[in-house]
Amino acid sequence: MLKLVVVVKFKEGIDDPEGKSITHSLNLLGFENVKRVNVAKQYEIFVDADISKGREIGEKIVKKLLVNPVIHDYELRVEEI
């Protein structure tokens, strides 16, 4: 069994309203020294496949579904479990 870990973030320069809103809330809650928050999504995908195929499958899934290249960057990690 493989575990593919994909972290999808916003590209540099793309505004992240959720991060902004959390920053604002934290400041209001008394954490005035919080300067910025970036929010990303992490997917752990459990696949029944050979480790040699891991990256290929991961890239395919990312392209097909998880990422819009106009606004997102991503990291992909493959682990055998």
Binding site: I14, E18, K20, S21, L65, L66, N68, V70, I71
Partner: protein
């Protein structure tokens, strides 16, 4: 003229869309993605992707719907568009068309998304009425007045693309409607409800047959769906004009 109203789990504006098409003289039919097979789209004259939360908008609004359509009938869809048949998406439907690469379609069809409808600047789902100004005459807008009002209801409607794409969109006159302030000036929030670049609310592709719009014309089809109907007399809702435009440009033109 047969219109396929695509459905999947979570699309939820199909009924009011159905009524809008029917009342405008079309023959709408629901077509669930689970029943959709290769070759089926040929039987229709138009494809409509309704609003809602297809697959919960999990991952990203419209992403799963688009991926499933692509996996099932991408060739058929491309042929449909290349034959010049109309395709229209509202709200979640617009998001689907962007994810498919059918919009903005600055160069016809793109195999990868060229743009995105990102989370609203307010970071909130918002349901409110906005003013729109027409910037381009297309089959979807030819008979629409210069200024109309429609409701928006979305969390992800901020149109984004790289500079070159935006320039090309503008150059090719692909922006059909922009958000405006009530006095006609450039809008701030909430008149631009999501922070869209260049106040873009609706787009057409470079061929002129694929149309995506964030606000909901089908929810402003009848006069009584407007929030200010006891202030402003209307025969019909402003959204009706879009469906009527299609009818006149396609069905009437055929019969002329």
């Amino acid at each position: 003229m047969k219109v396929a109203i695509l459905q999947m789990e979570g699309t939820n504006c199909e009924e009011e869309s159905y009524i809008a098409f029917k009342e405008s003289g079309f023959e709408p039919e629901y077509l669930h993605i689970n029943l959709l097979k290769k070759g089926m789209l040929e039987n229709y004259d138009m494809i409509f992707v309704p609003g809602g939360f297809s697959s919960g908008d999990y991952v990203r609004a419209g992403a799963i719907f688009a991926a499933r359509l692509k996996a099932k009938v991408w060739k058929d869809l491309k042929r449909f568009v290349e034959e010049g048949k109309p395709v229209m998406g509202v709200c979640n439907g617009f998001q689907v068309l962007i994810e498919l690469g059918l919009l903005p379609g600055t160069d016809g069809i793109s195999e990868e998304p060229e743009a995105a409808l990102a989370t609203n600047e307010s970071n909130r789902f918002e349901c409110r009425w906005v003013y729109l100004k027409k910037f381009s005459d297309t089959i979807f807008s030819k008979h629409v007045g210069d200024k109309i009002t429609l409701p928006v209801a979305h969390a992800e409607g901020r149109f984004l693309a790289d500079k070159k794409t935006i320039e090309k969109i503008e150059e090719q006159n692909q922006v059909v409607f922009r958000y405006i302030a009530p006095d006609g000036s450039r809008p701030d929030y909430p008149w631009n409800p999501n922070g869209s670049v260049n106040d873009i609310a609706a787009l057409v592709n470079s061929y002129g047959n694929v149309f995506g719009i964030m606000p909901h014309p089908e929810r402003a089809f009848f006069w009584y769906q407007h929030p200010d109907w006891n202030r402003v007399k209307r025969e019909r809702g402003d959204g009706w004009q879009i469906f009527n435009s299609l009818f006149r440009e396609i069905i009437e033109a055929k019969n002329r």
